[in-house]
Amino acid sequence: MTERDHELLEVSELRKYYATDDSVLDRLLGRSSRSVKAVDGVSFSVAEGETLGLVGESGCGKSTTGETLLNLTEPTDGAVRFDGQRLTEMDGASLSRFRERAQIVFQDPFSSLDPRMTAGEIIAEPLVIHDREGDNRERAKELLDRVGLSPGQIDRYPGEFSGGQRQRIGIARALALDPEFIVLDEPVSALDVSVQAQVLNLLDDLQTEFDLTYLFIAHDLSVVRHISDRVAVMYLGEIVERGPVESIFENPQHPYTQKLLESVPRAETGERGRRVDALRGDVPSPRSPPSGCRFHTRCPYAREACREESPESVETGDEGQQAACFRAVDTHPYWRSVPLDHADAADEEPTASGDD
């Protein structure tokens, strides 16, 4: 699974800004608009057959990333390549072909299904749109059965299904066109744990059966660890760390990843005694993100250098792991700059910088 022979999806420097408070007068006067930088220069790739977990807290831009790379919203800047082809250069026919090969499952199983269509109509709709030949109803029954619902329920409306069952309908719809790539945008976060486990197992089985590639967007770290082969961690529109799932969870390099993992309460009896140094403060507004490293306002290791300069992603720790943090570079001037007032974590100098 770690073999990376073919990158199905490559995203480089993807940006999505939402303009706000931008009146006609502002535009006439050529004032620069104050925009919300929902996604700000995100790069990653997803290899064929793997699951990339995209994880972060609310407002970090993970869902916008998923929608933008499928071209559901137009990116402000950056390039997305699907199977070697640039999305922005696709013409009508190849874009339509792309829309067959790449699908999405949304978070909320209540608002993502049309309440006036039956389960069968919902699942068959992609087949109608893309003029597929054959018996749509039979295909819908087959898909219902595959996602663990009874084909006899084909004429029921979404309102007659429970949350978990609706999410299965959403998955069946995404499978209708035999896609290669599916963006799963928080597919289990609206579900109860026992149902969540059913859906996670189903996604697992479908991936093996149909050779699917997943981009799994979630805020729940346990779920991400369970399902992902590789993980990217987002904070305020940027990817702060990415790498193979074991490296990210066993050997996190970015202080944000470390704090995120520390914060998750474990469902085991030893949890009460575990010391948790909670990350202080709130996530700053993406309207005016902090200068330099965006995490410096909350980072326990922040120094003067973090306020002035924005860190690049560098190879660190394990193979294939990258973190955007000065601490990953032993020779960085960071180590000689002054800690910020709120930074209080006990800190040792890197061994390499020695006593010069």
């Binding site: 807290e57 609310s58 619902l149 009874s150 006899g152 329920q153 429970s162 978990g164 069952q165 109860d192 744990v193 026992s194 149902v195 969540q196 486990a197 059913q198 996670l200 197992n201 697992d204 805020h219 770290l221 346990s222 779920v223 660890r225 369970h226 399902i227 799932v245 969870f249 704090k259 995120l260 993992l261 520390e262 914060s263 998750v264 309460p265 474990r266 469902a267 085991e268 009896t269 949890e271 009460r272 575990r274 948790v276 909670a278 990350l279 202080r280 709130d282 996530v283």
Partner: protein, 389 residues
């Protein structure tokens, strides 16, 4: 530890036009002084309705239909002999007059809810709303039998003015000062300034802190926290849980913590009750329930969560869906039997609670006393007749 609240056979039902919903069904548990008791369950398991039933906040068409809510309060037991337990220590909350029961909200019970954004009034400052809670408590303790003093020169003029400037005449400088003090205690920086801000100027985590400050205004003996961190991000959740544990230890309060998150339970609680379909299916210490679960539902719940530190290749979910709780669909049988991997003929009888060897650890399941007997196991398709999902 002595128990301060004993719930016996509590049932709460909702009577809607087309069905009767048994949201809580003969639930019994106790809350001890200075402990954190967790109630865990999936959506629709009745955990929130159980909490609302304790503080008499179940709204029509819901109604508490059975059970006793024994509160340890000897002075009240003396004043209301008709509601008192024969030991003279406890009173049954359901037998108290409404006004007396209401006066217990604040000094005895206080609540924090899941969604801080919708729990505050958006048109009043946060400080004002906390000061109001402080003032209610001050007046209630001055005249213990009522929550609102009528003799305090509150005439028509004040009433009309209150309509124009809400909260105007009600709070004063002393209660404002106390509000700022409370905000400081829950870790809000610049409490003086933040008290003058409106709820929308607060972040979710800060507003949850403010709600905790408001709940502390009455110095409660029991704090009921209903999914206090569910709407929050995981790093903010860690802050709020730490705060809850600090104030619980400082004040030696009891906390009833309601959540769907087993991780939160493990982080916070001394004892746990697991709810399913309106019933408590298992209860015991944290160790009993997490390390030695008896009820197949508890086992299934624990098997369903992906482990952060030790990933398993495959999850072991509970098959099927949570039942609807409509009385006409539920019948008499053990509620979990249709999803239970170990359902036997004995499970078809209405069940009573059975204790495991340890009296502290109980489960509503035949397996608590008897070993699983495959000979009497129900066939796999036993429950499929008549329902097609």
């Amino acid at each position: 530890m002595e128990d301060i609240l004993r719930v016996e056979g509590l049932s709460t039902r909702f009577f809607t036009s087309d069905a009767q919903v048994n949201a809580v069904e003969s639930v019994s548990f106790d809350v001890r002084a200075g402990e954190i008791l967790g109630i865990v369950g999936e959506s629709g398991s009745g955990k929130s309705v159980t909490a609302l039933s304790l503080i008499d906040l179940v709204d029509s068409p819901g109604e508490v239909t059975a059970g006793q809510l024994w509160l340890r309060n000897p002075p009240l037991a003396e004043s209301y002999p008709e509601a008192a337990h024969e030991d003279g220590e406890f009173v049954d909350l359901r037998e108290l007059p409404d006004r007396t029961r209401r006066s217990l909200r604040g000094p005895t019970f206080s609540t924090i809810f899941q969604d801080p954004m919708s729990s505050f009034n958006p048109s009043l400052t946060v400080g004002e709303q906390i000061a109001e809670a402080v003032e209610v408590q001050r007046r209630a303790s001055a005249t213990p039998r009522s929550t609102r003093s009528r003799t305090d020169g509150y005439g028509l003029g004040s009433y009309l003015l209150d309509g124009i400037v809400p909260g105007r005449a009600y709070t004063d400088d002393a209660s404002h000062e106390r509000a700022v003090e409370l905000l400081e205690q829950v870790g809000i920086p610049d409490p003086d300034e933040r008290a003058r801000e409106y709820p929308h100027e607060f972040s979710g985590g800060m507003l949850q802190r403010a709600m905790i400050a408001q709940a502390l205004a009455g110095e409660p003996d029991v704090l009921i926290a209903d999914e206090p961190t569910t709407a929050l991000d995981v790093t903010i959740q860690a802050q709020i849980l730490e705060l809850l544990r600090e104030i619980q230890a400082d004040r030696d309060m009891s906390v009833v913590l309601i959540t769907h998150d087993l991780g939160v339970i493990a982080r916070m609680c001394d004892r746990v009750a697991v709810m399913y379909a309106g019933e408590i299916v298992e209860r015991g210490t944290l160790g009993d329930v997490f390390d030695d679960p008896v009820h197949p539902y508890t086992q299934g719940l624990i098997g369903s969560i992906p482990d952060l530190d030790d990933p398993r290749p495959r999850l072991q979910p509970i098959e099927g869906n949570v039942p609807s709780l409509r009385a006409d669909e539920m019948g008499d049988r053990g509620y979990f039997a249709d999803r239970c991997p170990k359902a036997m003929e004995a499970c078809l009888d209405p069940q009573t609670e059975r204790s495991c060897d340890d009296p502290e650890h109980a489960a509503r399941c035949v397996l608590a006393d008897d070993a699983y007997d495959p000979a009497t196991a129900l066939p796999d398709d036993y429950f499929e007749e008549g329902s097609d999902d």
